[in-house]
């Protein structure tokens, strides 16, 4: 593993041109996340419909390529999915990024898996794991209606 492999095209692309950047108009849930060590910030906006499906999602924030790519890939991937399914994906991703070899969730498409596995390289860079997980923890916080800003140092 070297940094050329860490910073794959997909990550650079999502990092530079993050999808779903901005503030979706009709959001009904939101949460902020912050990594005090490096200053990365993310603010997630969700529009959950009456069936607990994500109708729209977007984020604002600033941070390194990995955190931006992670937020971009995340938001792309869960759009249209249902709350419980999302919780499963988050759990699966967080386990993979820290310890497990692969993702286990069966509902993910080939393409989704490829994108998520792109981020798996950070496993070799312990100080950067939090960059990859920030958006994911923040999403959980938004879904759970947590009032306080997430501080990533407490988690992971």
């Amino acid at each position: 593993m070297n940094t050329k492999e860490l910073y794959q095209e997909i990550i650079l692309d999502h990092g530079k041109n993050p999808r779903n950047l901005g503030k979706t108009e009709n959001y009904n849930k939101e949460a902020k996340g912050h990594n005090p060590l490096c200053g990365d910030k993310v603010h997630i906006f969700l529009e959950l419909d009456e069936n607990k499906k994500i109708k729209d999602i977007s984020f604002e924030g600033s941070g390194c390529a990995i955190s931006m790519a992670s937020a971009s890939i995340l938001t792309d991937l869960i759009k249209g999915k249902e709350e419980n399914e999302i919780k499963e994906i988050v759990r699966d991703f967080l386990e993979m990024i820290k310890t497990k070899e692969n993702l286990e969730n069966k509902s993910l498409t080939e393409d989704d898996i490829t994108k998520l596995m792109c981020l798996s390289g950070v496993k070799q860079y312990p100080m950067r794991v939090k960059c990859a997980t920030l958006a994911w923890h923040t999403l959980t916080s938004a879904i759970e209606n947590k009032k306080e800003e997430i501080n990533i140092e407490e988690l992971d």
Binding site: H34, L37, Y125, M127, N151, E153
Partner: protein, 406 residues
Amino acid sequence: MNIDNIKSQFPIFSNKVHNNDLVYLDSANSSQKPLVVIDRIYDFYTKEFSNVGRSVHYLAVAATNFYENTRTSVQKYINAKDKNEIVFTKGATEAMNLVANTFGQKYLKEGDEVLLTELEHHSNYVPWHFLRKTKGIKIEFAEVNSDGEITIESIEKKITKKTKLIAFTHLSNVTGAILPVKEITELAHSKGIPVLIDGCQGAPHLKLDMQDLDCDFYAISCHKMYGPTGLGILYAKKKWLEELPPYQGGGGMIGQVKKNDISYGDLPNKYEAGTMATAQVIAFDESIKFLNKIGIENIIKHEKELIDYGQEVLKKNNSVKLVGNPKNKGAVLSFTIEGIHPHDIATILDEDGVAIRAGHHCCQILHDKLGLPATARASLGVYNTKEDIDKLNASINKCKKIFNTK
């Protein structure tokens, strides 16, 4: 590890003092360091040095992991619930100042009482005196009995409706009395009063189990625990660390910093402002490993044998008087010799390589009570032997001879 042969692990003992073998009986002041600890400092500085926490480069990542490993080792050693209940300080003195300052800020007001004991070291009195000066709190002292002990009754007698905290030593650094800390804590908690234990002398010599003790705060001095100088530990229950304000402000302890306001970081960062004693924390992991290898039960057994033997020998020695006679006694033998001042004793013993301490041992309140301006103190560590006690006794006899004392 064989405890009978433990001196060989401490390089200091291959040196001579005034051409004599070193008989080190000043461990209550500061313990000697095993080679593993010294080597760890050396290796860290020569091969791995970096500051912790904030950089993402290789050395910084490694140092941060080592640093946090020590926190986990300490947590396990003292059986704390959470590793974030372990705060590194520059010493036990700072740990107790931290508690007095932050608890004082938040919970103490004029007329409130803090209950100490007459056995307390100045480090567990002066910080409270500051609050007496600035906030008008009152300080009460539970009385020591004629054996140099603090009983549960002496504590109970001084608790009032205004008592807001009880702070006491685990093991007296003068009489060696081991306090009934668990009973005192239970009594205090039954009245809703938190307790701070000064664990300076408890930590190197006794089994530490924060879940069993259930105390609110416990202060440790790492340099008395076979660790490097410039390091201490405050154990505090999470709820206190969350509730209390930070103590020092600076890098690493913040959340967000704006011109008009500042938010603080999470535990334990909130209490670890500025660059910490990185190398010392990392090396202290070796002290814990060293203690674990011998096993605290073996240490307790070994030191008990020595203290019993020491008491026996000194009690037999004419005109030597032991200071205090507690039933439950640890690692400290303080004494006086009729007609010979402790400083003269220390000077004469030193000539034979026998290192003891003379003075009030930062316990003036106790010495006033005993009517002694100073005492001589031989204190033990894991490396001491019966032979050391014999040498102490022989040197005391020389002392008596010089002073024509019988």
